[in-house]
Amino acid sequence: MNAKTAKYAGLVLPPCAWALNTQLGQVLPYVDCRGESWLAAAASLACTAVAAAGTVLILLVWQAGRSRTGLFISLIGCLSGAAFAFAILQQAAAAIVISACEH
């Protein structure tokens, strides 16, 4: 993956991971309740990892973004990625703490 692709991947991955996890949070509690599984928690942790990976990816290619606007886009991606990772981490905490069968 070249630096430009990595930069935009870092920009896109965290919000996509958050959107996916938010949707899974509407479906997986029913599955978890029936099968006594921890799929919602596992999915949340996986999405947190993806969001964090997106953020780290930007940090890794930081030096490659030498133009002023490139650096600007990288920093935007890095900061927003951290915010999305934080949101998904909170969702993971909810998935671990709250019973899937509770209505």
């Binding site: 938010t22 309740c33 920093l75 915010a83 934080f86 909170q90």
Partner: protein, 638 residues
């Protein structure tokens, strides 16, 4: 412009002196005098001023409805307004304020300011812009006409099924509501498309992504939110009409439909709508603040990040309006998590503004007073927002006056305060005249005090259990004293708005001349005369800094090479804003007006017959063909 008026083809501005360029551009970009000239204009400034004026008329009407409700609730067992009329009034108030005031006025500010702030001569798709205004005006008038005829919708601004379905809401009231949604959403979507294309392809050379004014960033994010959120409510309102008119069963559980689908669709639009209103206000504050503290905004990058993050996160909060419908607790908590997380970018914005104030030298002119009023009020509304994001707390206060207090703090504090500040700030640009500093201080004081005295006690009423939307209450209940206090306080708030409107009307005629840059601001719109000429900029500016109008710079660098014998714009690249092409911009046309009339005819007719979509499409098609038919003008050339 007619063919007779045109000068010889291919005349470029670099061959001409300033006076000659001005003469040619005035003729090429001007609006013809007279009634039909006014109807046909596609000047973004003229259309935006109409939008703003119309939206403020709707604000006045919605405010009068609020006063009527407060009059009714001032004492227990009041019989001033009957229950049916009260249902219409609170439905009209909410629908009007959200769909006919808040969203359109923010879009209108974008239409006025964005082309000026990015240094171009008109908005992208200017005829679509004219079309959007006529559609908005007709849709809003339709709703108010139904109210005047005692046939207004009465199902709340959210129109939950099954209440709004055919079984519980016979007649055409709900259909009018649903079709009014279509009108306003079409106009909002049109504006959103125009803003996105204008910002991404028509910025002045040198205005790379990291030099775009925060207000413009806010309008871009708002526009993407509109593009993402509005289809949801358009689908919802259309399927509701189908359920009511042709007997589909989208929302009827007995026939395999799903009543909760309505709530999901409505709030998938409804929650981002709050941010569609709020984010432009963030942009306004971030653009006004530096002018009154004498330094650039603190944390430009953090503010842009916060805008984008807020815009995306706003699509993951909608279920917090549905905490009492019985969804799995775990799923609800995911939305609690996002609702709490969105406080992070909101907090970043607040800290950036506080840091800007702290590091600068504040000059307390009227716009800055409104900004400070906004920060105080919005922080309070944000804190109660975090409270109602919690499922157990929300379950207790759901459908009480606590929620009424919360969202008025967020919407009035978060959007109306900055908007009023913005009117004081940009009024000189729009009219060439200053508003009164004295009346402005009175307006701010009365509105700020009146607002808090009116809405803060509603928190207490809500905690005491007073439900929303009740038209009266019994004297034994402990709500009478606070309700009377709130009703009296609402008069102070109304008086503040009266002073504001008097100031607007007085200043429009008799305000002191403003000059091009009365505040000493640093963004591009202040490089034009006040009010700006039809072509905005005599020559397209070249941007070399995030604050292009620095006091130390005597002259703004400009680009040349555009034709003056036709409406021509400079197209630039998305990231770096490097010049790419010269592009023609459409001339004035009467056809957007006729297309809007034809579309309105079809939409209104379709409330009564599904065949309207078929037969009504014919005049729409005719109007659109005439709209796009080549007219043999220089603008038709590639």
């Amino acid at each position: 412009m007619t063919g007779v008026d045109r000068i010889s083809p291919d005349v470029l501005d670099l061959d001409l002196q300033d006076a000659e360029v001005e003469r040619h551009l005035s003729r090429t970009w001007g609006t013809s005098p007279g009634f039909w000239g006014a109807i046909a204009t596609v000047d973004h400034k003229v259309i935006a001023r109409r939008y703003i004026a119309t939206a403020f008329v709707f604000l006045i009407l919605g405010g009068l409805l609020a006063l009527a409700m407060r009059l009714q609730l001032a004492r227990p067992e009041s019989r001033l307004i009957d229950p049916d009329r009260y249902n219409q009034i609170f439905t009209m108030h909410g629908t009007n304020m959200m769909f006919l005031f808040a969203v359109p006025v923010m879009g209108a500010m974008a239409i006025y300011l964005v082309p000026l702030m990015v240094g171009t001569r008109n908005v992208a798709f200017p005829r679509l812009n004219a079309f959007s205004y006529w559609i908005f005006l007709i849709g809003g008038s339709l709703l108010w006409l139904s109210f005047a005829l005692d046939a207004a919708p009465d199902v709340g601004w959210f129109a939950y099924v099954p209440l709004s379905g055919p079984q519980y809401s016979p007649g055409k009231r709900t259909d009018l509501w649903a079709q009014m949604i279509t009108f306003t959403e079409v106009s909002a979507l049109a504006i959103a498309i125009e803003v996105v294309v204008t910002v991404f392809k028509q910025r002045a050379p040198g205005m790379s992504l990291d030099r775009i004014p925060v207000l413009v960033w806010a309008m871009v994010v708002m526009s993407f939110q509109v593009i993402m959120a509005m289809p949801s409510i358009m689908f919802a309102s259309t399927t509701l009409i189908l359920d009511r008119l042709v007997g589909t069963q989208f929302y009827n559980p007995a026939e395999g439909g799903d009543a909760l689908l309505w709530q999901h669709l409505f709030w998938f639009f409804g929650h981002p709508e709050v941010y569609i209103i709020f984010l432009p206000a963030v942009g306004m504050v971030s653009s006004m603040l530096p002018t009154f503290v004498g330094r650039p905004i603190f944390g430009y990058l953090a503010l842009v990040m916060a805008l984008i993050t807020t815009g995306i996160l706003s699509f993951g909060l909608w279920v917090h309006h549905m905490f009492v419908v019985g969804l799995p607790r775990m799923g609800e908590s995911f939305f609690t998590a996002s609702s709490m997380a969105i406080a992070v970018p909101a907090g970043i914005q607040i800290f950036c503004w506080l840091a800007t104030l702290w590091l600068g030298r504040p000059v307390f002119r009227v716009p800055l007073l409104f900004i400070i009023g906004f920060i105080v009020t919005f922080v309070m509304g944000g804190m109660t927002g975090v409270m109602v994001a919690s499922v157990p707390f929300d379950t207790q206060v759901h459908d009480t006056y606590f929620v009424v207090a919360h969202f008025h703090y967020v919407l009035v504090g978060g959007a109306v305060f900055p908007l009023l500040g913005a009117i004081y700030y940009w009024f000189p640009k729009m009219t060439g005249r200053m508003m009164s500093e004295t009346l402005g201080r009175w307006a701010f004081g009365l509105i700020f005090v009146g607002f808090h005295l009116t809405f803060f006690p509603m928190h207490i009423l809500g905690l005491q259990g007073m439900p929303r939307r009740i038209y009266t209450y019994q004297p034994e209940l402990p709500w009478s004293g606070l309700n009377l206090f709130i009703s009296i306080s609402s008069l102070i708030l109304a008086l503040g708005f009266l002073v504001f409107f008097v100031d607007v009307l007085r200043s429009w005629r008799h305000g002191l001349p403003a000059g091009p840059n009365p505040w000493g601001a640093s963004t591009l719109e202040w490089a034009t005369p006040s009010p700006p000429p039809p072509y905005n900029f005599l020559r397209i500016p070249v941007v070399q800094d995030r604050n292009p109008l620095r006091p130390e710079d005597k002259e703004l660098p400009v680009a040349a090479g555009l034709r003056v014998d036709r409406r021509e714009l400079l197209v630039t690249s998305v990231v770096e804003a490097l010049p790419e092409a010269r592009e023609s911009s459409p001339q004035n046309s009467i056809w957007p007006f006729w297309a809007a009339l034809a579309t309105s005819f079809m939409l209104v007719w379709s409330i009564f017959s599904p065949w309207a979509v078929v037969w009504g499409a014919i005049p729409v098609a005719v109007a659109l063909i005439a709209w796009f038919w080549p007219k043999g003008t220089p603008e038709d050339e590639a």
